[in-house]
């Protein structure tokens, strides 16, 4: 039994045999003369074009015109004269058609990779996919990747045309060992609601895994190869419950979130990338309570520009329409490291140089982010929250920086919402204890329960030796949450909870009773939380039992 973990593409469970998909490897080999090789290329291209026409029709039937159009675009790429010229150029070196096609595809992909536009960068995959599709038709053997029985597909990456060719009934789940949640195939996977993960650390896709039994827990992010029988039994039960529950929960879509006694609360979602916003919308989130902006920094090779950040923020804000989107400013350091930040090694990183502290030391990073956020604020209902606050002077500094950002944009004649809400995270005991003072200076609070718990209890939450002592239900934590909530409301500002604890079954009645305004959870938990809240009568909740 071996467990791997990865990034969620679409939640859900799958248990079954692995079907390995591997793309053909192309070596640099000599061809049989450029005329002959070009003729082979032409024939393979023709076959590719007609296969893409089939994929277009299949996708049109399954998912509609918008998704199908991409295959039409792929077809035009295959037929493109620049592409053909590039293949001809490669063939001048007497290589095989296979190699010429891959090299031509790689060269064109480079052009996209160098563009200063996130969307265009992602198109590298389209170009490469078209090239490998042509190569697959250059081969001797016929047929291709088919599933003979319901399987979990394991691949480095899967061309979307291959995915659309497969019988959906046969796909239990997909594991993209490499891949990104942002690729075209990932988007299709979500549309088709197939449980899947991508970017699996340490997993090598080898033919030897073919037929091995595996468990995919795409809700948590685990992929378990050759599990023990008791694990299989446990997961089989989990999967059944999940599916039964999922069907039942559909009834809560489009409904407001109310307790049994009619108290209203908002359910927001935590998302880690702009591409996860589709999940939030599908699960009927009432807003985004935590958008982790770090992902933009983690995916980049150098500090992301204002423009690049603006595009990500705008995409989420626009997609959510009138619903609120709370974006958290840069929160790195501690366990999240980025090479180009060149942060010093620390003895005690959780208590060290992180988030707002880095921003204060390097204000140009924070300035670029604030400008990007203000620009995106013109396109919807955007609010910004700053993590790791401990003092009033930090809040004062944030407001000064916000003023500078507004002045910068006004001078550049760019639109922005000058009243964009700025809030802080309450995730240090200092912030909770000082919340009466802070509440008068900011527009909202959001409690980060993971850090608040670890700092209050002085227990490293990732230390396995302390896992049993780490009690997030500790009364000290509940007292701090209650204190912050009362102080927020006294100052007339809303308060939300965006940590893991927001959907904690035991604490949920307490949160509702003290009047937390918003609970922010992963998209997959939205409807189940709404269902659970509907069963709670706050009149029956005894607050004292949680704090004394």
């Amino acid at each position: 039994m071996k467990t791997y973990s990865g990034t969620r593409v679409f939640e859900g469970y799958a248990l079954g045999k692995i079907a390995v998909y591997s793309a053909k490897k192309v070596e640099k080999t000599a061809g049989k003369g450029k005329e002959k090789e070009f003729a082979r290329f032409e024939k393979a291209r023709e076959e590719t074009v007609s296969a893409l026409e089939q994929s277009f029709l299949e996708t049109l039937a399954k998912l509609g015109e918008k998704e199908a159009q991409l295959f039409e675009t792929h077809k035009l790429m295959a037929q493109d004269l620049d592409f053909e010229d590039a293949v001809k150029g490669e063939l001048e070196n007497d290589v095989s058609a296979e190699y010429a096609v891959m090299a031509a595809g790689d060269n064109l992909a480079m052009i996209f990779a160098q563009m200063d536009d996130e969307y265009m960068k992602a198109r590298v995959n389209d170009v490469k996919e078209v090239a490998s599709r042509i190569v697959s038709f250059l081969g001797e053997e016929e047929g291709g990747f088919v599933l003979k029985e319901p399987s979990i597909i394991l691949c480095d990456d899967l061309p979307s045309s291959e995915l659309m060719k497969l019988d959906k009934e046969m796909i239990l789940g997909i594991v993209f060992a490499k891949g990104s949640p942002n690729s075209h195939v990932s988007i299709l996977t979500r549309m088709m609601e197939i449980p899947s993960l991508c970017g699996i650390e340490g997993l090598e896709v080898t033919p030897s895994l073919q037929g091995s039994f595996a468990i995919l827990d795409a809700s948590k992010g685990d992929f378990i190869v050759s599990p023990e029988s008791k694990t299989v039994t446990a997961y089989s039960k989990k999967k059944d419950e999940y599916e039964k529950n999922k069907a039942k929960l559909q009834a809560y879509k489009g409904k407001p979130t109310l307790t049994k006694d009619g108290k209203s609360v908002q359910i927001y979602n935590n998302i880690a990338s702009s591409f996860e916003v589709e999940n939030a919308l599908r699960n009927d989130a009432e807003g985004i309570g935590l958008f982790r902006s770090e992902f933009i920094y983690l995916e980049a090779k150098d500090y992301p520009s204002e423009e690049e950040q603006f595009e990500h923020y705008k995409r989420v804000v626009e997609a959510m329409g009138e619903k609120q989107v709370i974006i958290r400013t840069l929160d790195i350091g501690a366990d999240k490291k980025i090479d180009y930040f060149d942060l010093p090694e620390e003895e005690n990183p959780a208590l060290g140089f992180r988030s707002i502290r880095i921003c204060k030391a390097r204000p140009e990073i924070f300035a670029a982010q604030l400008q990007a956020l203000y620009r995106a604020s013109a396109y919807g209902n955007l609010a910004v929250m700053v993590p790791m606050i401990i003092s009033e002077s930090e809040i004062k500094w944030i407001h000064e920086m916000a003023k500078l950002a507004r002045e910068n944009l006004a001078a550049r004649k760019l639109p922005f919402n000058k009243d964009m809400k700025i809030g802080i995270m309450v995730e240090t005991p200092a912030a909770a204890i000082m919340s009466d003072v802070f509440a008068k200076r900011v527009d909202f609070f959001s409690i980060g329960t993971n850090d608040l718990s670890q700092y209050t209890l002085a227990i490293d939450r990732v230390n396995p030796n302390l896992a049993s002592s780490f009690n997030p239900h500790h009364r000290a934590i509940c007292r701090l949450i209650k204190l912050a909530t009362e102080n927020a409301h006294a100052a007339g500002i809303p308060i939300g909870i965006c940590g893991e604890l927001a959907r904690d079954e035991k604490l949920l009645p307490f949160f509702l009773k003290i009047g937390v305004d918003e609970l922010s959870v992963s998209p997959a938990y939205t409807l189940s939380l709404r269902a659970q809240i509907a069963t709670i009568d706050t009149k029956d909740v005894d607050v004292d039992s949680f704090i004394s």
């Binding site: 918008k66 039409e72 077809k75 035009l76 493109d80 620049d82 969307y119």
Partner: protein, 85 residues
């Protein structure tokens, strides 16, 4: 020669899908069709050329058509831009 200018309204700019649609439309005609944006010109029948311009929302493109069927091509292409971008 016929030509027209058009301001891109699609919020993603000329991205893969609409690029495919306009290129497919241009290819239906015998005339040569070119598209210019920010001083760079590309053949509107070549998708890599068109996407390579990296045209963003709010930017203006000019399209020129030259050939026997330029009249019909100009009408059809303008309509395609209006409907898809």
């Amino acid at each position: 020669m016929k030509s027209f200018t058009y301001v891109i309204k699609d919020k993603e700019g000329i991205h893969a899908r609409p690029a495919g649609i306009v290129v497919a439309e241009a290819k239906k005609f015998a005339s040569t069709v070119s598209i210019t944006n920010k001083g760079k010109t590309a053949d509107l029948k070549r998708i890599f050329g068109v996407m390579g311009l990296c045209v963003k929302s709010g930017e203006e493109v000019s399209v020129s058509i030259e050939g026997a069927d330029e009249e019909a091509a100009a009408t059809a292409l303008l309509k395609t831009f209006q409907e898809n971008l």
